[in-house]
């Protein structure tokens, strides 16, 4: 799995951060979509193959590469649908989504459910 704050840890928040810290990398974008066969969130690799794992996603560093990937993805009707660009931050051990929605989308629904075995 990619880096992410463990929801089950007692103190998930980092110590008071300095907003101007140079350690905080700038966000970049990756392309994501929904797989037609099963609705699963998939992420586009650099070799234009779709992967279920966020860590495999190819970062798109600029406007040109982002729009190019998006246009290409919009032409694929049978395999995926609703492609869009998603903001991520590169950490030392992988990519991390910025929004809560994308974290849940990558991780799956509530960890409580997983704990009580609803997830197979």
């Amino acid at each position: 799995m990619y880096t992410m704050l463990d929801p089950m840890s007692a103190d998930p928040a980092p110590a008071a951060p300095n907003p101007a810290s140079a350690r905080t990398p700038a966000p970049s974008a990756i392309l994501t979509a929904s797989r037609v066969a099963d609705g699963r969130a998939v992420y586009l690799r650099l070799d234009r193959v779709w992967s279920e794992a966020l860590r495999d996603a190819g970062p798109l560093p600029d406007e040109a590469s982002q729009q190019g990937a998006l246009e290409w993805a919009r032409g694929l009707e049978g395999e995926i649908c609703d492609p869009y660009l998603m903001k991520v931050r590169a950490q030392s051990d992988g990519l991390e989504p910025i929004s809560a929605r994308e974290r849940i989308r990558a991780l799956g629904p509530g960890w409580i459910r997983q704990r009580f075995g609803y997830q197979v």
């Binding site: 998930p12 300095n18 037609v36 009707e77 849940i104 509530g110 960890w111 609803y118 997830q119």
Partner: protein, 576 residues
């Protein structure tokens, strides 16, 4: 309950076959997503965050035990072994593969279950009171009329591409247990001065971004004209509802724009034309339909409930507490309608496992003539249980973890799936529900707090009905972090009333604290245990509650916007 004839079954098979063809064309790329989407929505298939979600119709909440078993079976075979009950009495599966949908639907068609029109811009599943046919205060059983409306609306060729979704609810009592005040069309059975029973017709209710309570369109409509009048309303809506803006497309906007009188004039004009046609119901049609809902063979006289009295007086208050909350009055002496609570700290509200579905099927067969109902508060009901058997039923439910004494209490939480599942959501609702359940885990406290409806919506679309909760919570996205707005004082009955926001949004932990404080204050200021929270709120207003919630909260710190906010902060501990 209504029994399908071969022609009804045929329709389900043909529909499943039609959808199979459409899915084939989608998988081959012949149908684009844009063309496919409205078609799959009319078959209840949503694209959500993680997978397709299939919403199955349980018309007016009725279920036979064989259908419960079929749901268990498909949830095991095609899903992940659990199902979710919705606020419109339907059931949802969350992990569906597109190509398996036709087989799934075929399997369900064999027991008369389907997903027809549970989404899309068409007439949705008709809902009613879960106690229909057994409530002691009911004027007349609304279910025959629900079934007539179901047939009229199913695959209605003219109204499959409406400006927006359309929801109808029917109630047979004066207490609005079906929330008709929040529906596009609400129908209430009522008695005229001369004693004849007909329908009071309400129109234009709806929650969502701009909640509106329904207005009374017609004081009394003869039963025979139920379908013709509804058709007239739909036709006026189809022709004149707005199509330029999705958020202004419900019938409530049309009624508001025209004004009730002008809207009514158009409906009545169209109705004059329609009622001359084939939609008027004859007395024999009504009688035939009522026969489908004839009461079961109740035991009479009811058996003496010595065991019941003993159980109630026992030192272990568990049974008494459960019976007081969940065993509801029934029109037949010696019977109760039992709420099977799908609420606990260990589960999302309204969820149940395949094993529990199977077990409830057995309980329905053994205790309730093979019948169960879903409720709009996301629970199940066994409608016809003999009182003397309550202690043994309680024991069985307890063993299944379905005996939370929560009905109409603070732990009877309504919650939409929220950000954990839903594409539209702004915040998680399930996590909040579970945190509240854990905070209010003490049964004595829950019992002391009395009657409360706590409703959570994960976004402004209000699928959790937060506008009409005694405590309503709206999840919002506050610049990338989850925030929760608390509103107080909403109700459906006796007066439909929209809740008012108490103050600024709080984070998850803060909101659970806020509810805790509100409840503590309520207990402090109430004049007696008989004064419910809503009564106190109406007496003292929001200010005292606002004070206790926000008084010593410091203003929000400047957060570091560059670091993502953690999910799961303040998460409940295991075991509740």
């Amino acid at each position: 309950m209504f029994r399908y004839e071969p022609r009804d079954e045929q329709l389900l098979r043909e529909r499943a076959s039609q959808f199979r063809d459409q899915i084939q064309r989608r998988l081959s790329g012949e149908l684009t997503e844009a063309a496919f989407k409205p078609l799959r929505l009319q078959n209840g298939l949503y694209m959500q965050l993680h997978a397709y979600m299939l919403r199955l119709a349980l018309p007016y909440g009725q279920l036979r035990s064989e259908q419960l078993r079929a749901l268990a079976s498909v949830s095991r075979r095609y899903d992940r072994g659990y199902a979710h009950i919705t606020t419109r009495q339907n059931v949802q599966l969350n992990w569906i593969r597109l190509e398996e949908v036709p087989d799934l639907l075929e399997e369900l068609a064999a027991v008369h279950l389907h997903a027809i029109q549970t989404s899309g811009n068409c007439v949705r599943s008709v809902t009613t009171d879960a106690l229909a046919g057994v409530a002691p205060d009911e004027l007349e059983d609304p279910r025959p009329y629900c079934e007539l409306l179901r047939q009229w609306s199913t695959l209605h060729p003219e109204f499959a591409f409406l400006p927006r979704k359309f929801k109808i609810a029917v109630i047979g009592a004066s207490e609005d247990r079906a929330a008709i005040a929040a529906h596009d069309i609400g129908l209430r059975l009522r008695e005229r001065e001369d004693g004849e029973i007909g329908f009071e017709v309400w129109v234009g209710g709806g929650q969502g971004r701009n909640p509106v309570l329904a207005k009374r369109l017609r004081e009394w409509l003869p039963k025979a004209e139920l379908l013709s009048y509804t058709e007239a309303i739909l036709r006026v809506y189809n022709l004149h509802g707005r199509r330029d803006n999705k958020h202004k497309a419900r019938i409530k906007v049309l009624v508001g724009a025209l004004g009730l009188e002008r809207f009514k004039a158009r409906v009545e004009q169209e109705w004059e034309r329609v009622r001359a046609g084939g939609l008027s119901l004859r007395e024999e049609d009504l009688e035939a339909m009522r026969r489908h809902f004839a009461p079961p063979a109740y035991a009479s006289p009811p058996i003496d409930s010595r065991e019941l009295r003993a159980a109630r007086l026992s030192k272990d208050r568990g049974f008494a507490r459960w019976a007081d909350a969940n065993a509801l009055p029934h029109r037949m002496p010696g019977y109760r309608a039992v709420v099977v609570a799908l609420k606990s700290p260990a589960r999302p509200p309204g969820d149940l496992t395949a094993d529990q579905l199977d077990a409830i099927a057995d309980l329905a067969d053994e205790y309730s003539f093979g019948e169960a109902r879903t409720t709009h508060r996301q629970n199940l009901v066994l409608p016809d249980v003999e009182s003397w058997r309550l202690p043994e039923l309680f024991a069985r439910l307890e063993a299944l973890e379905l005996a939370s004494p929560s009905h109409a209490r603070i732990t009877d939480i309504i919650s939409c799936p929220g950000l954990d599942y839903c594409n539209l959501a702004s915040a998680r609702s399930i996590a909040l529900a579970e945190a509240i359940q854990t905070r209010f885990a003490e049964p004595e406290r829950v019992e002391a707090l009395g009657e409360l409806h706590l409703n959570i919506s994960g976004c402004v679309n209000a699928c959790g009905h937060h506008h009409v909760g005694t405590l309503g919570i709206l999840g919002i996205d506050k610049q990338g972090t989850e925030g929760y707005q608390l509103m107080l004082g909403g109700s459906i009955d006796p007066e439909p009333r929209l809740g008012k926001v108490l103050g600024r949004a709080l984070d998850l932990e803060g909101l659970v604290d806020a509810i805790d404080r509100v409840m503590a204050h309520y207990l402090q200021v109430r004049r007696s245990p008989k004064e419910r929270f809503i009564d106190v709120y109406l007496r003292v207003g929001p200010e005292p509650f606002k004070e206790v919630v926000y008084a010593d909260h410091p203003p929000p710190r400047d957060r570091d916007r560059q670091l993502p906010a953690p999910i799961g902060r303040g998460a409940p501990t295991a075991g509740g």
